[in-house]
């Protein structure tokens, strides 16, 4: 089976389109009749990764989706500012979101935690000044 892939641009601070990349991925998975469980996991992880670029990144980012016979790959990347200490950032409740974003209901410090809970495999690479790449994998049957 050939693999299916899509890439979406995520614009920093663009709340008008925030979530649309994840919604497109979700609709694609739904049209392919994947299980509710895997759609749930990919939707949550895609959304949290996408919102982190919208809120925290200094550059635009990319959400890349690939479905192969054995796996779903979801990668969210941006080019800065990077995360200083990934373990700290992963802690539930840790957030550097501004008051403005907190009033909108962001900044609970739960996004990376949600990703860790829902991705079947997770790799975060982040370098200060260079950016962040979050690689997630899912089992399409699971």
């Amino acid at each position: 089976m050939a693999s299916l892939s899509r890439t979406f641009r995520i614009q920093k601070r663009d709340f008008t389109n925030a979530g649309n990349a994840s919604i497109s991925v979700k609709k694609l998975l739904k049209s392919l009749n994947l299980s509710a469980c895997v759609i749930r996991k990919v939707s949550i992880c895609g959304y949290e990764g996408e919102m982190n670029v919208v809120m925290h990144a200094a550059t635009d980012g990319i959400l890349a989706f690939e479905l192969t016979e054995k796996k779903i790959f979801l990668t969210v990347s941006d080019e800065g500012p990077g995360i200083e200490d990934i373990e700290t950032a992963m802690q539930k409740g840790y957030s550097t979101a501004s008051d403005e974003f907190r009033e909108m209901g962001f900044g609970a410090g739960m996004g990376l935690h949600n990703i860790r809970e829902n991705a079947d495999s997770l790799h975060i690479d982040s370098t200060l000044g260079a950016g962040t790449v979050i690689r997630m994998e899912f089992n399409p049957g699971g």
Binding site: G19, I23, K26, R40, M104
Partner: protein, 111 residues
Amino acid sequence: MNVKELADKLGLEIHAGKQAADRDILGGYTGDLLSDVMARINPGTAWMTIQTHQNIVAVAVLREAACISITGGHRPDRETVERAEKENMPVLLADDNSFDLCLKIADLKVL
């Protein structure tokens, strides 16, 4: 019970997404922190929140909520209404706060 029946019974205005108001309600959730809602709601949830900006529609669509009820007399932003229409997501408006609205839903004994 579907979204329209719930709105009728509680006297709530369906402010957007009427075309999807026949969707069945399977449960409810109250939350204003979007990442918390994202992690906790399931398809068919009637979600109560005081958030009014358009990202609530993205959350509701991604988790297949049955509807969003904006509580406490808050009113959705224009962009929220537009996005809800486009994504077929019913948005109900309630003057009650989330707690009082939940009490009224509990009184209906449907969930």
